[in-house]
């Protein structure tokens, strides 16, 4: 057990070292959510009058943009497995005495750390859209963000382990990421949407992540916090189980 933890730590540490070395990318990745908030939120909000949203539009999408940032960063981190495979480093990891489950956890924690860092930065910038987050709420949001990231991280790893090529991964990702984002209630409530879209939205784990954050920050959650949490944690655990299983099936 102790050696598995050490293995997880070392895999995590490697991701962090590389993440730190490439912090320029990190800074540039932060511009996307800010553009959404300021340009999309500001521009769209002026043209939008809807009874469903009681807070300002920019404030409404803020939790959604946090969710988007976590989603984008987490899913993309699956690509590190493809890089590792391409460059042969995956063999070094796979041939070590560490269990496949620990490898998946280590990788997922690495990706989640960078996603979480972005999420926290974004929370710190919430004043841009005139939101005040109390320290207590701030602390409550962190574990929620962590589980959202972990779930989508492992989802990314899952896809990376079945798709071998870099291009294939990118293609699948664009098919998954955007619908997940749009159907999560990040940008608009789906309560008035056609039934089939509502169903898809209810099947989307990000819906509950965004809802939990929105509930805490704006007090506008659709579901109870514990229900949201249950689904977000359940999704992460479920993905972890099938992905470690997939890693365990040797080719």
């Amino acid at each position: 057990m102790r050696r598995e933890l050490r293995g997880i730590y070392s895999i995590w540490l490697r991701e962090i070292i590389k993440f730190y070395r490439e912090r320029i990318h990190f800074a540039s990745a932060m511009t996307t959510p800010l553009l959404w908030l300021i340009i999309f939120g500001g521009g769209m909000g002026i043209n939008l009058r809807t009874g469903v949203i009681s807070s300002g539009y920019s404030a409404y999408i803020f939790p959604g943009i946090v969710g988007m940032t976590l989603l984008f960063t987490s899913m993309r981190s699956g690509i590190s497995v493809i890089w590792d495979r391409e460059f042969g480093f995956l063999k070094e990891i796979l041939v070590s005495p560490i269990s496949r489950t620990s490898i998946v956890i280590g990788k997922a924690l690495g990706g989640a750390t960078s996603a979480l860092t972005q999420g926290i930065m974004l929370l710190l910038l919430s004043f841009i859209v005139h939101i005040y987050i109390s320290p207590l709420n701030f602390i409550k949001i962190i574990p929620i963000m962590l589980f959202i990231s972990l779930g989508f991280d492992v989802f990314g790893l899952f896809i990376a382990s079945i798709i071998d090529s870099f291009e294939g991964f990118q293609t699948i990702m664009s098919f998954i990421i955007m619908p997940t984002f749009f159907l999560s209630g990040a940008l608009f409530p789906l309560t008035n949407a056609p039934g089939w879209l509502q169903t898809l939205s209810l099947l989307n784990p990000l819906t509950y992540g965004v809802d939990a954050i929105r509930g805490i920050i704006l007090n506008e959650g659709r579901f109870s916090l514990s229900y949201d949490l249950l689904i977000v944690i359940g999704f992460a655990s479920f993905m972890l189980i099938i992905t470690s299983w997939l890693f365990n099936v040797k080719k």
């Binding site: 490697r14 590389k18 391409e86 042969g88 480093f89 070590s96 040797k250």
Partner: protein, 327 residues
């Protein structure tokens, strides 16, 4: 107890049999070489022994552990240098070694000492904190060997350790391998397609093709027994000469052609005068005699019926560079 013992080890990819009922024993403390052309199944054998892939059937014991039931123990007790690069070039040499030490649970108290020790062994101390992407192919190979040794394995697997490296670097790496075998009391299992490498380093060689061992022996015996020198005698009475020579113990093989006799002979230069003497005694006029000393290449050709390989396609460094360019 053997370091490695396989029983009917087989790997099939759909219809292709990459490794075919392999029965192999390797003694401890030896340098054992697998020699074979492209696609012979060398890397597949190593992958199974290293528990990276499961055999289709059959089994193997590595260091006393079963590769299927005890794969974690097998992994802990072996070190591997893969055919293609497997270091992280975005990390420094030391970081790569640390990562490996932690994965193999080298106690943290002695970890830095071990890292220093292996870095010294492969003479990379002064580059320890440079990013690996600034390394040459030879340095990467040395780093990989160092890495394979940190956790003090009992067996070191080297898959084509010097492929694509320049002659000087290859010699350098040979020195390391020899030093390791002597000092560390390791069993080394290596694959190669360089005859000189196999000859120089290995105590024992198996020539393998289509997943089957064609022959296995010490390099000396392979060279002396299996292939002699080729002697081409031009004469108008090749049949008669062949009859006269039959029964001579230095003759391995004879082939009669229209105006010549192809001989395969042990120690050709020494026995050539003997051939001429016999011809003279039989009053056969010999027009010319041509001695062709075999290289190990011929040994290989003899057993596999093919040349060892076109080098350029899978050059280690060019493969690496190609991959790196894409990044």
């Amino acid at each position: 107890m053997y370091a490695i013992e396989t029983t009917n080890l087989t790997k099939k990819y759909k219809t292709l049999v990459a490794v075919d009922n392999l029965n192999l024993q390797v003694e401890k403390g030896k340098i054992f070489g697998l020699l074979g052309p492209n696609g012979a199944g060398k890397s597949t054998i190593l992958s199974m022994l290293c528990t990276i892939i499961n055999p289709t059937s059959g089994s193997a014991i590595v260091n006393g552990y079963d590769i299927i039931k005890d794969s974690a123990k097998v992994r802990q007790s072996i070190g591997i240098v893969f055919q293609s690069i497997s270091v992280d070039d975005r990390l420094t040499a030391r970081e790569n070694l640390r990562f490996h030490s932690m994965l193999y649970d080298v106690p943290s108290g002695i970890m830095e000492g071990r890292i220093q020790e292996v870095l010294r062994l492969v003479e990379l101390e002064d580059r320890a904190d440079s990013l690996v992407r600034t390394f040459s192919g030879g340095m990467i190979r040395r780093l990989e060997m160092a890495r394979g040794l940190i956790h003090h394995p009992e067996i070191l697997f080297l898959d084509e350790p010097t492929i694509g490296l320049d002659p000087q670097t290859r010699e350098h790496i040979w020195d390391y391998i020899k030093t390791l075998a002597e000092k560390e009391k390791l069993t080394i299992i290596m694959t190669t397609h360089y005859m000189d490498e196999a000859d120089l380093l290995c105590d024992d060689i198996a020539i393998i093709d289509h997943g089957v061992i064609k022959v296995r022996d010490t390099p000396e015996k392979l060279k002396s027994f299996l292939v002699g020198d080729n002697i081409l005698v031009t004469t108008n009475l090749p049949d008669k000469l062949a009859t006269g020579l039959s029964g001579q113990d230095f003759i391995i093989e004879m082939k009669v052609s229209q105006n010549s006799l192809n001989l395969n002979v042990r120690q050709g230069s020494r026995n050539a005068p003997q051939i001429i003497n016999i011809a003279r005694d039989l009053h056969i006029a010999v027009d010319s005699i041509n001695i062709d000393e075999p290289t190990l290449h011929d040994v290989f050709l003899h057993h596999t019926g093919k040349n060892i390989r076109e080098e350029e396609n899978d050059n280690f460094i060019s493969m690496y560079k190609r991959a790196r360019r894409g990044r």
